[in-house]
């Protein structure tokens, strides 16, 4: 057996080592001590600088609404564009989980300070606004970054070695357990921490380490530009994110996968909330990073709850956590129970992979720095759900057919649902977020309808590359335009930052399913699978989603990079609507994009039998039937390609060539109403918020303030004050006057005598 397999612990150990060195050695001893000295000077410098630089002023405008910019009026109002509906919806948008409540509460103390909160807030904003970074990372912070990159690079090489070893030795592809240690062993119940390596693991390892490596490389530039003081902390969190994802991927059992699962939640919590000082921006419909992190964690916990119950059912029925042992030990387990267990396990996947109805955390997670978004969306967090279903696929197979049907239909519904929301969004990162949710839906459809995990994982892989590219590209855009995420203030960027735009275009084509791009192969395979398995509803859903995807992705492209006056009918460059000077990003930004562009374009060939691709055979040991392995043999491919081309064409017509009027869909009241609903994301956030605020919090308040304070404490205090009142009454007898006492003594004597008499005479 290859040492790549037996010493697989090296892969998670590398980021762990990076993390430990970061937080235990470099950070406390070098970085923090240096930074504390430099801090005052930095702050002073920033204070002096604020209000002078053009960036500062413009940034301020952006943050506080559309003030006095004719161009903005042009696009926002005068033109009566389709965006109009949701622009006005935006005006009346009431905020997120934290906004209505948080600000008045903050005021509670701030009111006491002279000048009030609002004024102070403005000054604070200017001082601490992360969009106007001051200073630069210390040398030790940079070393932390280099160390993280280096260790992740080693892990990537190891994963690559593993993949190659597995490719050369098909015997290894079917799985090998690598024991690490026993966590707990009680009375014959074993809680193992063991790794499991097969081709699925190897693929995931390569994806995770590769994307992580590129993202870490990229983060150097990005964090320097956004929050330099958190530089080494960011790399520490990235390392722990990689560690938890690698544990999850490597686990051989439900214990370790659950641990990795939760740790991924932790990492995402830390990273989404990385820009902790930022406030919510209700005017842009954006929560504060803290609120987004909280939401991500809690919503994920809802899914984890289901996952946990599923694990409990399986564990108590079989007495083992190990995936490969469970089928043998299932014994006479009730089929219905297994089905329920697997659906519950899928609940966890719904949470992590942001499927309906637990998708709400993902768009808010965009409040994290963009590299984090890339990680979460491409390789790490959301892939975990798909990976979980793939890993436990044998159990899904053993369970009743309802389990996989649930998977497929949740996926299909989420795909079209999220795509529809993405149609009307104006925030670059949010569109990409919804597109991720939608694409994950595809993966679940793939897992749900196909009898094999191949198509789903294939799409997971291709999606990881092009989605990472899209996010990193959007990060490049944000860096270029000073962190403005509003597409209405972009446009024509292709000619201004071509090194970002070119790979971005390739990825857009890939996700839209343009023929011969990676996304085309993986997505078409899934669409074809639904038809082939006779699931025509899902077929219609996925086909429609393909059209929508192409449309909104190219809408994004044209509004950001293209537009009126650009080359090739608005495809490349054009009018720039922003006010901020566009900055050219350096090589740390565009190099990862270029690298990612290669698999985004070519990764699909691994599944195309015409060029010798055998992805499915590698993953599952069984090649796909030719109909799936080569999309060009199937007549259905025409429909898939047609849908995507139609979407591209429509977007081109509306936003590039501008031959189709923009209000074609929203000129009628029905369309406008629908657009408003879409803009508000079907009001799901609001429903959840109301549920939490009025039902959960309401019940809790009843418990805490009524049952505890009134009833239980009432009884306790009532008992107490009853005794006190009794004593107080009794105290009146203690008058302090001797004659009263004398009367009591003799009266008492009389009573005793009477009792004695009664006992003696009537007792007989």
């Amino acid at each position: 057996m290859s040492f790549f397999v037996t010493d697989i612990w090296v892969i998670p150990a590398l980021p762990l080592l990076a993390f430990l060195l970061n937080i235990l050695v470099l950070r406390p001893f070098f970085d923090l001590s240096n930074r504390d000295k430099g801090h005052a000077a930095e702050a002073a410098a920033a204070h002096g600088a604020q209000g002078h630089g053009a960036n500062t002023a413009a940034g301020h405008d952006e943050a506080h609404g559309n003030v006095g910019d004719p161009e903005q009026h042009d696009i926002g109002h005068a033109e009566a564009s389709p965006d109009d509906a949701y622009v006005r919806a935006l005006d009346t948008l009431d905020g997120h989980i934290d906004t209505p409540a948080a600000i008045p509460r903050a005021l509670r103390t701030a009111e006491k300070t002279p000048g009030g909160y609002a004024l102070v807030q403005l000054v604070e904003d200017a001082e601490q606004h992360p969009h106007h970074p001051h200073g630069s990372p210390t040398i030790w912070a940079r070393i932390n970054g280099y160390m993280g990159i280096l260790f992740m690079g080693l892990a990537f090489l190891w994963s690559l070695g593993l993949l190659v070893a597995l490719m050369q030795n098909p015997a290894l592809q079917r799985g090998e357990t690598v024991p690490i240690y026993t966590w707990i062993s009680v009375a014959g119940l074993r809680y193992p921490i063991d790794f499991y390596v097969d081709s699925l693991t190897a693929i995931m390892l390569v994806i995770v380490t590769a994307i992580s490596l590129l993202v870490q490389f990229y983060s150097q530039a990005y964090i320097e530009g956004e929050e330099p003081r958190g530089y080494s902390r960011f790399f520490a969190w990235l390392s722990i994110f990689s560690l938890s994802m690698l544990l999850l991927v490597l686990s051989s059992n439900f214990l370790l996968i659950y641990m990795g699962w939760e740790l991924v939640g932790l990492s995402s919590y830390l990273l989404i909330g990385f820009l902790a000082k930022d406030a919510a921006k209700p005017e842009a419909g954006r929560p504060s990073p803290g609120a987004a992190a909280l939401k991500a964690f809690v919503v994920n916990r809802v899914g984890d709850f289901g996952f946990l119950i599923g694990i409990l059912i399986l564990f108590t029925a079989t007495g083992t956590f190990v995936f490969t042992d469970i089928p043998a030990r299932l014994g006479p387990i009730n089929l219905a129970l297994l089905t329920v267990a697997m659906i519950l396990v899928f609940c966890g996947a719904v949470g992590k992979s942001a499927q309906f109805p637990l998708h709400v955390w993902l768009p808010d997670a965009m409040e994290g720095p963009t590299p984090v978004s890339a990680l979460i969306h491409a390789a790490k967090m959301v892939a975990a759900g798909v990976y979980l279903v793939a890993r436990t696929f044998p159990l899904f197979h053993l369970a009743g057919p309802q389990a996989l049907t649930v998977v497929a239909y949740i996926g299909g519904f989420t795909a079209i649902f999220a795509a529809s929301i993405a149609l009307v969004q104006i925030d670059v990162k949010r569109i990409l977020a919804y597109s991720t949710i939608s694409q994950l839906g595809y993966m679940f459809v793939g897992l749900g309808v196909a009898d094999t995990i191949g198509p789903g994982i294939f799409h997971l892989m291709t999606h990881a590359f092009f989605k990472a590219l899209l996010f990193l590209g959007s990060g490049g855009v944000l860096l270029a335009v000073s962190m403005n995420q509003d597409m209405r203030k972009m446009g024509g960027l292709a000619t201004r930052i071509p090194l970002v735009a070119f790979p971005f275009l390739l990825a857009t084509l890939s996700i839209s399913g343009f023929p011969f791009f990676a996304g085309f192969f993986s997505k078409d395979e899934i669409i074809a699978q639904t038809w082939e398995h006779g699931d025509y509803i899902l077929y219609a859903m996925t086909l429609a989603t393909a059209f929508l995807t192409a449309f909104y992705m190219f809408r994004l492209w044209f509004l950001t990079f293209g537009g009126k006056g650009g080359k090739f009918g608005g495809l490349w460059g054009g009018e720039y609507r922003g006010t901020v000077a566009v900055k050219k990003p350096d090589f740390r930004v565009w190099l990862p994009l270029m690298i990612l562009a290669v698999p985004s374009v070519f990764a699909g060939f691994w599944g195309w039998s015409s060029v010798g691709g055998n992805f499915n055979a590698f993953i599952t040991g069984h090649p796909l039937t030719p109909a799936f392995a080569n999309p060009f043999t199937s007549p259905l491919t025409i429909f898939g390609v047609g849908a995507s081309l139609l979407g591209i064409a429509l977007a081109w017509g509306m936003y590039g060539l501008q031959v189709v009027p923009r209000n074609v869909f929203v000129s009628n009241p029905l369309g406008r109403g629908f657009a408003t609903v879409l803009w508000n994301k079907y009001y799901i956030d609001e429903i959840y918020l109301a549920f939490v605020r009025y039902v959960v919090m309401g019940l809790s308040k009843v418990a805490s303030f009524f049952i505890d304070r009134r009833i239980i404490d009432g009884i306790i205090n009532g008992a107490g004050s009853g005794v006190v009142a009794f004593g107080r009454g009794l105290r009146r007898s203690e008058s302090g006057r001797l004659q009263n006492y004398g009367a009591a003594i003799f009266g008492g004597t009389l009573v005793i005598a009477a009792v004695f008499f009664a006992v003696v005479y009537f007792g007989k």
Partner: protein, 534 residues
């Protein structure tokens, strides 16, 4: 070495006397030295048997740290013996420590030491404060290693006095109310407990002819027969269990006997809150495991289902209440209610139905015991965190803060660490206990487990919401001058954090420590349950 337990119990008392006569300037140092020495000595409880068995030898084969019948540590001498007619009262001075005791003793020694360190800033009558802390340590030490039921009860009551004074003198605004509530609740429970002790002592004495309150005797002999209460016959063991349990339930605390806890926690000074949550609640849990279910297993079995329901209610109710608290300490106090529910749930499963589930039962009991330890460490951390904040801001309301991360990064991350540990993040000790309890209790009480597990969502919600409101967002300008936690303040936090981390990553050593004790209890339970159904 058999004097070690006596030394451990009474060294703090000696320390208290030393503190009373020490010069004013060195009072804190004296207290720190005595608690520190006790802490270091307490390690020998763990290491000593290991050395004896051949270092890190196979614990399972040699019986490990012993059971309540033959504990690894024993220190006994006759004490009070008198006979009046047919009434025999035999009370022995009997200290012992098996696995279940040892780790609670070490936890107590550690938290007491950290409490002294964490009270360094106390300037209101520090002499009396430190002396009371040391006497409290004696009382709690005694509770965890008393192996005679009367001695246990004695120490149980001894602990009340310093705690009452600590809350009533050094507490917050409503300190007297809180102190009285704490004492009255506890005394209410311990009255019933004493009734239970008498009942088991005299019934067992009458049935076996041997009047003894030693744990080994009580664990190896079971009370039989029924008891007439108001004309209805109930199982004598059930009566004993309920009487004893009422005392422990108040300490744990179990809903609806929990309302002393938020008040006491909120009003007590930081270090006392730490001890209260870290150790005093564990006395109830320890009593439940060591005494209730081991000495009255059949009674416990009869009460298992209500116990499981109460445990689940505890977990959910505490979590719900935490969600709406404004005061950080109150929030953590309610989270203690929630987390101690896991102990109740685990114990309920351990005495629950199903003879084939012995493995799950033992796992459940192990989970309950680990939860005792882990909750002690984690809640200690949380209270220390709040204490640091309170020392600087003199206010604990969650909403008045905001954006503190900018000024207090160290506190932010250690606080987040503690919150994550509390909400059961893998790799930290809270997860070990919760996961063990979930995975084992589900086999016996699935519905209750699901209810309990649903609290994990709420737990994440209230803890992280608290973090978010205090530490995230733009800095509330009112606090722009606040300083970060100092090294002295970080020391206890980091120490506890390391413990939490070690237990979380490799809980095996703790399980090995506990195994023989818990195995004996489970055998006892299974044996008498089998007798009950025969």
């Amino acid at each position: 070495m058999s004097w070690l337990l006596t030394i451990l119990v009474f060294l703090p008392t000696v320390g208290a006397l030393a503190v009373m006569v020490a010069p004013q300037g060195v009072v804190k140092w004296v207290a720190a030295v005595f608690t520190g020495v006790t802490f270091l000595l307490s390690f020998w409880l763990y290491i000593g048997p290991l050395v004896h068995m051949g270092f890190l030898g196979p614990l399972n084969n040699t019986g490990g740290f012993g059971t309540v019948m033959s504990p690894a540590w024993m220190d006994a001498s006759p004490w009070i013996h008198f006979t009046v007619g047919s009434l025999q009262l035999n009370i022995d001075y009997r200290l012992g420590a098996d696995g279940l005791s040892i780790f609670m003793l070490i936890l107590n020694a550690m938290l007491s030491f950290l409490a002294v360190i964490g009270s360094w800033h106390i300037d209101k009558r520090p002499r009396e404060y430190m002396a009371l802390l040391l006497i409290l340590e004696t009382g709690v030490m005694g509770v965890f290693c008393a192996f005679d039921l009367y001695l246990f009860w004695l120490f149980w009551e001894v602990e009340l006095i310093p705690m009452f004074l600590l809350i009533a003198i050094w507490g917050g605004r409503r300190r007297e109310y809180a102190a009285w509530k704490f004492v009255l609740y506890t005394i209410f429970g311990s009255a019933f407990m004493l009734g239970g002790i008498f009942l088991i002592y005299f019934m067992l004495g009458g049935q076996t002819g041997i009047y003894s309150a030693s744990f080994a005797f009580l664990a190896s002999h079971q009370v039989a027969g029924n008891l007439l209460v108001g004309g209805a016959a109930i199982s004598a063991q059930l009566a004993i269990f309920l009487l004893l349990y009422l005392g422990f339930a108040i300490k744990i605390p179990m809903v609806p006997f929990h309302t002393w806890l938020p008040d006491a926690h909120t009003e007590a000074p930081t270090a006392v809150s730490v001890l209260l949550a870290g150790i005093l609640l564990k006395m109830g849990a320890y009593g439940l495991i060591r005494i209730c279910i081991d000495f009255a297993p059949a009674g416990a079995h009869l009460f298992a289902l209500p116990l499981a329901i109460l445990g689940a209610v505890n977990i959910l109710y505490g979590a719900g209440c935490s969600l709406v608290q404004q005061d950080m300490k109150r929030l953590i106090a309610y989270s203690s209610v929630s987390h101690m529910g896991f102990v109740i749930l685990g114990v309920a499963a351990a005495v629950g139905p199903g003879a084939t589930n012995a493995a799950f039962k033992e796992a459940a009991l192990t989970g309950a015991a680990i939860q005792m330890f882990s909750h002690g460490a984690i809640t200690g951390m949380l209270f220390f965190c709040v204490g640091v904040l309170y020392e600087k801001a003199h206010i604990r309301d969650i909403d008045v803060f905001g954006g503190l991360q900018a000024r207090m990064p160290r506190l932010t991350w250690i606080y987040t660490f503690a919150a994550m540990a509390s909400l059961g993040l893998p790799g930290l000790s809270g997860f070990v206990a919760e996961y063990l309890i979930y995975t084992s209790v589900y086999a016996i009480y699935p519905a209750q487990t699901i209810v309990a597990a649903s609290a994990m969502i709420i737990t994440a919600g209230y803890l992280l919401w608290m973090i978010k409101r205090s530490f995230y967002g733009p800095l509330n300008p009112h606090w722009s001058g606040i300083a970060d936690a100092s090294i002295l303040e970080m020391a206890p936090l980091v120490m506890l954090g390391v413990v939490v981390l070690i237990v979380g990553i490799y809980p095996g050593w703790l399980v090995d420590l506990l195994r023989p004790s818990l195995h004996q209890i489970i055998q006892n339970v299974n044996g008498s349950v089998a007798g009950l159904h025969r």
